[in-house]
Symmetry: C2
Subunit: 328 residues, 2 copies
Amino acid sequence: MKAITVNLQSTSNRLQPQTLPTPEPAAGELLIQVHAAAVNRTDIMTRDGLSGYATNPILGVEIAGVVEKANGTSRFSPGDRVMGLVNGGGYAEYAVIPADRAIPIPEDYSFEQAAAVPEVFLTAYQTLYWLGRLQPNESVLIHAGASGVGTAAIQLAKKLSGAQVIVTAGSAEKLDFCRELGADVLIDYKKQSFDQEVLQATNGQGVDLILDFVGADYWDKNLASVKKEGRWVVIGILGGGEVEKVNLLALMTKCVQLTATVLAPRSNEYKARLTADFVRDVMPHMEQGEIKPIIDIVFPLEQALEAQQHMEENRNIGKIILKVAEQE
Amino acid sequence: MKAITVNLQSTSNRLQPQTLPTPEPAAGELLIQVHAAAVNRTDIMTRDGLSGYATNPILGVEIAGVVEKANGTSRFSPGDRVMGLVNGGGYAEYAVIPADRAIPIPEDYSFEQAAAVPEVFLTAYQTLYWLGRLQPNESVLIHAGASGVGTAAIQLAKKLSGAQVIVTAGSAEKLDFCRELGADVLIDYKKQSFDQEVLQATNGQGVDLILDFVGADYWDKNLASVKKEGRWVVIGILGGGEVEKVNLLALMTKCVQLTATVLAPRSNEYKARLTADFVRDVMPHMEQGEIKPIIDIVFPLEQALEAQQHMEENRNIGKIILKVAEQE
């Protein structure tokens, strides 16, 4: 099968198309004929040797496709359309996935739409609810509101929790899109000081929860924006991974809970539990069309590098999809 | 009544004995004749103008005494012996306490023993269980094992959870005492590199939970000592409040949950809920003598400054108590 692997030795193009054997599903796993995969920042970091999210030489952490073979599991049968998180191996014609992590694709979804679901919606669900413990009608500050996780988080926070959703983004076009998804307060971080806007929108209290994709550059302003006893979840370091001078006393007197997280390196058992909760709480809303995956652009699998560059240039609103060509 | 207040203007002795009116309990509060109070680092920080934990001009966040008057509550009656957290006002002959935060004193406890319970045991309980979510048989690293919170946390982690308890302290005497309380692994931080010892004691995995009283000085070693997906609760900054460089990517790839907390500024409602859970889970063990308050030394209330200095010199094993002289 065709697959995209990483060649850390290359200085020009580290993404290497290869022909590799079709993987064999272990007990409890499904073999999936992949119709679409999607691009994530964790792929880019792995490509650049900054983190290794999996032992799998093939990139890609999420897929949508059709069950080809089920090994020792009756959860799914050949022919079923499923989407879900994989431990690497997504940028390929075939991939294996633990059956307890596969999610049935809603009937009216294309494979491209389905591939736009797993990583960003599971991450948004995990960070808002498992880690961020968002309660009904609380306030949440979502940075990078037009990103894949951002567009998912806006919808979840509104539809599941009626939250006051405050977003930052870097253009009027992106902010307009966030508003369409339900965001209440729109902040252009290039023109406004977001902590002042957040305090103004929350009667000087700050937000109950921050989803932080930015890290170092926003550290002090995030600290100023979070409410006393608030939660702050760091899920990206677009603005740098090293914070200079962290004031622990300020964190203590605000009683802040800071959780730093990446989904990809979590355990199989964790991902299975997360998937189960997600299917229970979110999939009914997807099936009814109240919550929807947001696709920015679709590239053919062979243009994986271009697809990643599109993300690196922050040009996307929503997900960047890799379409796998029809096989035989 | 006699009370100890803070005079931030004084350069020699900021603790000022004063004669003040006996406070009036509001609805839902009790007036307590205080028999003993205890010293906490938050008192010292307030004395030094580094944080103001309460609007009360009188120092002190915990008391033990006898109910003198109950206003609009039938939870307790005059004559009842109670202990608990107060919003300032503990270093005095009388203090008011919300009735939902008062805890009946076990029959065989002296008032000095009772005053050694609330702040450290509630903090240990809160940080181990509410914030740290310690699970049965997990591992926990407790810095400052011989401190007030340390001695409480060792006992709770062993008796309630059968945890593997790893402690650090700065002398053989303190470590011996920690062993008597149940600690499994004893690390002299002056002679040993604690992160190496922790990794050795946990098969290279690190601990599930860290109770960190030290802050900046231990930052990198704590990060090295915490297990993947572990929890890290910052409850003190004995080793500095400003971390020079925080590596967010390392926190993310380890999926660490960091919670910074001080108990004193938490809300009344929070303290009431915490007290209720504590009474349910811990007091039966105290009544049976399986878990016990640890007193280092008792000072008369008039020597509050000496008592605080004793703490500042890290000379104590367990709690430093202020005894209020018998009244008329």
